[in-house]
Symmetry: C2
């Protein structure tokens, strides 16, 4: 007998995937260059040349068993040291390799973070709008994901609602800043208030409420925006990082868990990650990729194109009368739809070959997401379609 819960999941098809499949199919009819596909958050800028050069250098010069051999279960020591040194320099916290666990991308990192601090039945609280995979990621561990409704004014945190939902079943709060899908960055005030509340509630309940900080977009922050380091606000922070976006290598599946050096159990938690791995079939990220990223920790792909695209889209959307919080980073924007039902809105947009994702998917009905990790030239060409869509449908 096959396990029913996984079988049942087969019928629930991801809206984003359906839209992306539509875009591909439509591309075959009219040429993909004519489909304004804002559905998928796939990095579009080239990988830094230094990464490629480092890979070729190692393949050419290193002894193969050394290069492709087993990684220790916490990650290659020299790689963990390099990451700790880089984080210490950049974030000003005393990271050491003992705080770093190498994980296969953010999904791998989160899978460990959730299991570190929750038993089945425990709750994890997150904030709408949120990355929809958080649902299965959390719920399939046996813990329960609870979602605080969105602050649609600024996509910061509704503390009134959070306070209500922070019951003693809650063992962790999960945040994502810069945020997918809203593109906003949590302010200092938000993070300070969140830390204060978590400390107060932790003391009240007599157990630590951990802050799990999912930070794959940390390097994509726009000019003039202050993106405060989450770990500096709260000692019991478990940072989950991925190089997918900063280096444009999402297929190579590399990231890490960095437990705040000021968390009293930090080293134990990192060691526990290796035990969790045994239960979920996790393996350290590929050896060669670990070694290569360690050499380019201070590099990123040329991320400027995302800011260029954001500016073009934000201006156009505002000009067209959309209500829209200006993104502080990422490659997403999350405007209010022009009718209450964002699904209907996005469906109508398809007639103009504009592929937008309804906010319902992200726990924020009435809004829609545009992933603008596409060529600027295409963003510019899409404006005409956007204008036509709006004027012909809503004027």
């Amino acid at each position: 007998m096959l396990v029913q819960k996984y079988k049942d999941m087969l019928s629930g098809k991801s809206v984003i995937r359906q839209l992306s499949e539509f875009a591909t199919a439509r591309g075959k009819e009219i040429g993909y260059e004519n489909v304004f596909d804002y559905s998928l958050g796939n990095p579009s800028v080239p990988v830094p040349q230094e990464f490629t050069d480092e890979m070729i250098h190692m393949l050419t010069n290193k002894e193969t068993n050394e290069l492709h051999g087993y990684s220790p279960s916490l990650g290659i020591t020299s790689v963990r040291e390099a990451i700790a040194a880089s984080l210490e320099k950049r974030l000003g916290l005393p990271y050491r390799k003992e705080h770093i666990f190498m994980a296969s991308g953010a999904a791998g990192a989160l899978a460990h973070a959730f299991r570190l601090v929750t038993e089945p039945g425990d709750e994890i609280v997150t904030f709408a709008p949120y990355f929809p995979e958080y649902g299965p990621y959390v719920n399939l561990t046996g813990a329960v994901l609870k979602v605080v409704p969105p602050d649609t004014q600024a996509f910061q945190i509704r503390f009134d609602k959070l306070e209500e939902m922070l019951t003693k079943e809650v063992k962790a709060v999960l945040i994502n800043t810069p945020n997918n899908p809203s593109g906003i960055v949590y302010s200092k005030e938000t993070l300070q208030k969140l830390a204060d509340l978590l400390r107060r509630k932790s003391a009240l309940y007599g157990h630590t409420i951990y802050l799990i900080s999912d930070e794959p977009y940390r390097e994509i922050v726009f000019e003039g925006v202050d993106a405060p380091c989450v770990s500096r606000f709260y000692e019991d922070t478990i940072m989950c990082y991925s190089f997918s976006k900063s280096l444009s290598i999402p297929g190579e599946r590399i990231g890490y868990v960095a437990v705040n050096p000021n968390c009293k159990d930090a080293e134990t938690m990192v060691n526990m990650c290796a035990q969790i791995s045994r239960g979920i079939g996790h393996n350290c990220p590929p050896s060669i990729i670990q070694l290569a990223v360690a050499k380019v920790l201070d590099k990123t792909a040329d991320l400027g194109v995302y800011e260029t695209n954001m500016k073009i889209l934000y201006k156009e959307l505002v000009d067209l009368g959309f209500t829209c919080v200006k993104p502080g980073g990422t490659f997403y924007i999350f405007p209010k739809a022009l009718e209450e039902d964002a699904k209907a809105f996005c469906n109508k947009a398809l007639q103009y070959d504009l592929v937008l994702v309804p906010g319902d998917t992200f726990g924020a009905p009435g809004y829609f997401r545009m992933a603008y990790c596409i060529d600027t030239e295409k963003v510019e060409r899409s404006l005409h379609a956007l204008r036509r869509f709006v004027s012909e449908t809503y004027r």
Copy 2:
């Protein structure tokens, strides 16, 4: 509060790891070349040049976003097709890409296989001697691993014991042939008898008992040995494969699940694997490694050295009076210790800088494992130490 079950696991240190650490420490004292380290199953032969060439070729010529982009959650389509075609040709079963799920090594593949067919409380039966990680791999899913005691005559299967243990709680039987740690290969008779028994019991209980076949050593079979394809004997076989040993790339974490094309739910099971992945933070193996192995599916590293080493050791062990089943493949041999307590035996061997692993770890007390994936020259030099150890300790 941190989750206790993972915290508790920190105190239980792996015997193999302790021995390996001893070998490293001792190596610092007397030179690692003088430590006869038979503890770890790390492939020692170089990676095939074709793999390296293919990696460099892609890094030099492919567009980076294509090369390092997201893999679909079942694996890259062209890679799955290539693997299916190769399996069809070699095994004579009608594999298609719909039967293949790319996994991050055998551990990743097994993590999916176990979750496909067991709920918490269900049982999985395996056979001593067995790979000790099967314990946490299975038990941390919530299912329970049961171990059939060893057939110490030939390390085949004790069917009398298996029949007793095949209760209706058992949802899968887990085998590993060629076997770690015994090095033996299951015969046609064993596999036929196993298939017959599983069919009979499946009918009796009204549910399929799946056969999970862990096959990382499939390509390491010695001359004259018939290593029958497990999937040809039983339609409900879930094959778990890893390229770690065949290509000497254990750090790159690549393998796959191949569901028998004759299993009636094969395609559903492969699709379910992608759902299971969402719950365990699994990600497809790295894109570039998927693409590279697809080009060298019919190549292996030069595995002949393992057979050379086996022959030298087997002859010497038999000459010294050890009881020993001759390995049919892998890079392990599993002789009977010269005293009842194999731990004491292995401890005494350490005085001769011989690092052997007691069979207790593998569910077969009284035996010990030698992993001879080391240079032949070192195997030859170790014989003198082995002779001295035996003559000075047991004569």
